[in-house]
């Protein structure tokens, strides 16, 4: 039983590492900031979750699993926030060319905010 669990853990860890490589390839190959944020957040988090799950299956202790679960929860909570803040900063600072956008709700929203503001 423990041998089977170890093999499953190993496969999960290697699969997670493969997702990290796809994230790296996307980060390197994609053309603008928003595409890179996409590559750097979603596959990266999935890969990390797989690695953490594999590690938890291998260590098989309650304390270790709790710590790994905490890391996973933090990552799932914080990655969307940081990706969102980065994307908005890219929009504001002009790092993303706005000419390529068909529709720009954020610009309209921020202009509206300024009219309503003090």
């Amino acid at each position: 039983m423990s041998d089977v669990l170890d093999v499953v853990a190993g496969v999960l860890v290697v699969a997670g590492a493969a997702f990290a490589v796809t994230a790296g390839v996307g980060l390197l190959r994609f053309g603008d900031l928003w595409l890179r944020i996409h590559a750097g957040s979603k596959p990266q988090v999935l890969g990390l979750l797989l690695v953490l799950l594999g590690t938890a299956l291998h260590l098989r202790s309650v304390a270790a699993s709790a710590a790994l679960l905490l890391v996973a929860v933090f990552q799932v909570l914080t990655t969307p926030v940081s990706a969102h803040v980065l994307a908005r900063a890219g929009h504001r600072s002009g790092a993303v060319p706005r000419a390529g956008l068909r529709r720009d709700d954020l610009a309209a929203h921020e202009a509206g905010d300024r009219e309503d503001g003090p």
Partner: protein, 87 residues
């Protein structure tokens, strides 16, 4: 853990780290670099988790926790600074 899995995972993670590091060097904007550094921290977390599993040790787990929060705080701070987030 079986050495084959450990070496395969660490090799893949090293490849990922090199790819991400190239993006950190190339930029072109600070936000691209911040995204890449964020991913680098995630790769580092994966690597530490693999080492922890390989050595059957739990001493690395607090490091994982601290790193995950530190990466988040850093990237949000840089993004707010670059985006002129003063409101």
């Amino acid at each position: 853990m079986n050495d084959v899995f450990v070496w395969a995972a660490l090799g893949l993670l090293s490849t990922a780290a090199v790819l991400v590091a190239v993006r950190v060097v190339r930029g072109p904007t600070t936000l691209d670099r911040t995204t890449a550094v964020d991913s680098f921290v995630a790769v580092l977390l994966c690597g530490l988790a693999v080492v922890a599993a390989d050595r059957d040790s739990t001493v690395y787990l607090p490091v994982l926790l601290v790193l995950s929060l530190l990466g988040f705080a850093g990237s949000v701070a840089v993004a707010r600074f670059v985006g002129g987030d003063e409101r």
